[in-house]
């Protein structure tokens, strides 16, 4: 069953046309990686899904229901959770408060115990203000904030960006555990190896157009796709 469907979506940033007739489909519990260079429109796709941007044409469906004209809070309430690329931790709130505010409108939030079991580092720092956390800890908190809402769909926007390699390894572990928990995941990443190690399927965007879809193996079998649209 299709959890997420984008149907010929055209998205703009101001009056800059970013996504051109983009179509995508993600099945329930699938992990899909959205690849492509900067400026290709990957982040824009996630923002359009989450309702931060509204498409000018085309349709978006979540478990069959159209969501493309709904406001962000409504989409979040229906179980689609975006972890934005700047993380956007509430710096003036503590870790515990960040988690609390995330859980307020969730119908069936995770018990805090379950979150802390998955992220022991966050439990250690639970009274620290968000602004005092390291980059890796902030990323963990951002993901934990999404998970506590027990979403059906999680959108991860560049979770490894700006993190030291050691931390990337930690976050990758977190992502693997996240994937095991069962939600449908779309991950946007420039780090190809990290993305491929998690994904069941990939989509490749180039200058706002969808140019390839397939499994990681199929992508590896098409090196010209990688060289033309990803990396250099």
């Amino acid at each position: 069953m299709s959890m997420i469907e984008l149907d010929k979506v055209n998205s703009y940033y101001g009056d800059s046309h970013i996504l051109f007739d983009v179509s995508m489909e993600v099945r329930e519990k699938e992990v899909v990686a959205l690849l492509g260079r900067n400026g290709a429109g990957k982040s824009t796709t996630l923002k359009t899904l989450a309702g931060v941007l509204h498409p000018r044409s085309g349709a978006i469906r979540l478990a069959g229901e159209p969501i493309h004209s709904l406001p962000t809070y409504e989409i979040a309430r229906r179980g689609l959770q975006l972890v934005p690329d700047e993380r956007r931790i509430f710096g003036s709130l503590t870790v515990a408060e960040n988690l609390k505010v995330a859980s307020l409108t969730a119908t069936d939030p995770w018990p805090i115990r379950r979150i802390y079991d998955m992220f022991p580092r966050l439990e250690e720092r639970k009274e620290s203000r968000g602004g005092n956390l390291s980059g890796g800890e902030q990323q963990m908190l951002a993901i934990a904030r999404a998970l506590i809402r027990d979403p059906r769909v999680i959108l991860l926007d560049e979770p490894f960006e700006g993190l030291a390699p050691v931390i990337v390894r930690d976050i990758l572990d977190v992502c693997r555990r996240l994937v095991q928990e069962g939600p449908t995941v779309i991950i946007v990443e420039q780090n190809l190896r990290a993305a491929l190690s998690l994904a069941h399927r990939v989509y490749v965007l180039n200058n706002g157009h969808m140019v390839f879809t397939g499994t990681p193996d199929e992508l590896k079998a098409n090196p010209d796709v990688t060289s033309r649209y990803i990396g250099i």
């Binding site: 980059g135 200058n207 250099i232």
Partner: protein, 605 residues
């Protein structure tokens, strides 16, 4: 051209005629009201410059109104200076000086914060009048007994006392103030103010000293306020403490909004409406005491429904047919430029010697908190070359480019442009020194025409950081106009020259964005993702444009469109995690495994 110069003077002619005719039409009984309207109108001319054109909402203009009034009144009643005209001049000077002091502090902030600070200073001056300085100001009693001015011509002496002479004096000075304000609006200074209102960051990046212009507008408003205050005291023969009250600042704001802030006569129209309605309502039996409530309610309704005020809405309708409005739109007709002339005009103003380094960046570093955005980056670009900077997200390219443009300063290291140390430059100085950046997200002046946008850019270098050339029209600098024509030609925007920017298609806006960076005739041009958001066809256009404007110019390009990078750049620097990873020609970079790793993720999983 004769007919257009008559058109240019139409508003002044209409106002002059109105000033003569209105008291005749409405009779001697209306003189008091008309005079008061003109006093508020004079006060408002300066305020319209500050708020309507400059976008700065001040709630403390009473500070300068009162200062002008009380300094003048004190000089006259205290017998310090006998000459009324001289006292007025000193009063206006005092108001202007005070506004410099307040402006320097208040203009550090914008928007709500600015409004709060000006209000506080207005209240401070009210308090100063009332208490510590009451010896000079008469405290809560004010200063009575102000003599009327007189003009001595030979043996003939004309004293401005009585309804008609008072009206004549104030109408004459209002007219002078209006003509001056009209000059300012149509001058390059007025254009810069309008630019600051619509996009202050870009205005600064085009070489205009924004804080200086803002202070100038603030001081002008203060001077007009001071003159109006001085005349109030003379007109009433009494200077009231209420001149300093918040009520006075508030009334000015209300009248301006009612009449329309964006036109010079808006405050005058608003004063006419407010004061006439007040007089009228106070006569009505039941409503008498509620006049201010009714006017306040009407004001709230107006702000909610008619954004631009009554005068402003009418003006906006007129503007729809003439988007350039009061600003000079087209210069007088001139011959088309030949391609050779276009090339010549667009040459950089300063060019380094052949073989010299246009850009010499040594070991620059920049950190934000604990994040090392740039670490020890070295980059050298020879004159006339086109180099690209690429790298994955978070590599530090934007930070790097911002430092080159003067938007940020490195924590360590040095930047030399054409051999000159420019590490601690700011965007305005950078533009004046031949460095300009084109932005990733369009930074245009949306409510101006294409030509007006380019004129703002082209005039930056010709006029320098700041200049008060208020007595020339904005389109009267021949060299600037020719440059604008050359730019329009190069950008292929000539047919759109006189339409408002917000009606253009995205691709056209992007070309204009590049054009604005080009308009200061830089020798070093920084392009930040110029192809962002463009369709394939538009990409080709912009790539060709970049190739065209390369002549004699050094370009640093940041782009993600790799095809474009390999096509345009002679040499590429790759950044990763804030460091300079490697540098080489396109062929070498494409095959470099380290670079591949950086983009695709350098860790084994």
């Amino acid at each position: 051209m004769k007919s257009s110069s008559l058109a240019r003077w139409m508003p002044e002619i209409i106002v002059a005629v109105a000033l003569v005719v209105l008291p005749l039409v409405f009779g001697a009984n209306s003189l008091d009201l008309l005079t008061r309207i003109l006093l508020w109108g004079l006060f408002g001319l300066g305020f319209s410059l500050l708020f309507g054109f400059g976008g700065l909402l001040s709630f403390g203009q009473a500070a300068f109104y009162g200062t002008g009034g009380f300094v003048t009144a004190y000089l006259l009643t205290g017998n310090v200076i006998g000459n009324v005209w001289l006292s007025i001049v000193i009063g206006v000077g005092a108001a202007a000086l005070f506004s410099v002091a307040v402006g320097v502090l208040a203009l550090r902030r914008v928007g709500i914060y600015f409004a709060m600070i000006t209000l506080a200073f207005g209240e401070l001056s009210y308090f100063l009048e009332n208490s510590p300085l009451s010896h000079f100001t008469g405290g809560e009693n004010g200063l009575p007994g102000i003599p009327a001015p007189s003009l001595q011509l030979g043996s003939f002496k004309y004293v401005f006392t009585g309804s008609w002479p008072s009206y004549e004096l104030i109408a004459a000075l209002f007219f002078v103030g209006y003509v001056l304000a009209r000059f300012i609006i149509q001058s390059p200074v007025g254009n810069v103010l309008i630019g600051i209102n619509q996009n202050p960051g870009r205005t600064a990046a085009l070489g205009h000293h924004v804080p200086g212009y803002k202070l100038a507008a603030f001081v002008l408003a203060g001077a007009y306020a001071g003159l109006a205050g001085a005349l109030l005291g003379i007109f009433q023969s009494y200077m009231p403490p209420s001149a300093f009250a918040l009520d006075t600042s508030g009334q000015l704001v209300i009248q301006t909004v009612i009449g329309g802030a964006e036109i010079l006569l808006g405050p005058t129209i608003g004063a006419a409406i407010w004061l006439s309605l007040r007089d009228f309502l106070q006569q009505v039996p039941v409503l008498g005491d509620l006049w201010k409530f009714i006017l306040g309610f009407a004001f709230v309704l107006l702000v909610t429904l008619l954004r631009r005020g009554m005068g402003g809405e009418l003006y906006a309708l007129w503007l729809r047919k003439r988007p350039s409005g009061l600003m000079p739109a087209t210069a007088a007709a001139h011959e088309r430029l030949t391609p050779a002339e276009v090339v010549e005009l667009l040459q950089p103003l300063t060019a380094p010697e052949d073989g010299a380094l246009a850009l010499d960046v040594q070991s620059v570093s920049k950190s934000y908190g604990g994040i090392h955005a740039n670490s020890d980056v070295t980059f050298k670009v020879p004159a006339g070359a086109l180099y690209a900077v690429i790298g994955p997200n978070g590599a530090g390219k934007s930070t790097f480019l911002r430092m080159l443009a003067g938007e940020e300063h490195p924590d360590s290291g040095s930047i030399r442009v054409n051999g000159v140390e420019r590490t601690a430059t700011d965007v305005t100085a950078a533009a004046q020194n031949g460095v300009a950046k084109s932005f990733q997200i369009n930074q245009l002046f949306p409510h101006l025409t294409v030509r007006q946008n380019l004129r703002l850019g082209a005039s930056g270098h010709y006029r320098g950081r700041i200049r008060f050339d208020i007595f020339r029209r904005a389109d009267s600098i021949a060299a600037v106009e020719k440059l604008v024509d050359a730019l329009l030609d190069e950008l292929d925007l000539t047919q759109h020259a006189d339409v408002a920017v917000d009606t253009l298609a995205y691709g056209e806006k992007r070309r204009l964005e590049l054009g604005l960076a080009l308009s200061s005739r830089p020798s070093l041009l920084l392009l930040d993702e110029p192809l962002a958001g463009l369709s394939p066809a538009e990409r080709e256009d912009v790539k060709q444009l970049i190739k065209n404007i390369r002549r004699g110019r050094t370009i640093v390009l940041v782009e993600h469109d790799m095809d474009a990078v390999f096509e345009l750049a002679e040499r590429i620097m790759v950044m990763h995690d804030g460091n300079r990873l490697t540098e080489g020609d396109p062929g070498t970079i494409q095959k470099d495994s380290q670079v591949q790793q950086a983009y695709l993720g350098g860790i084994d999983f």
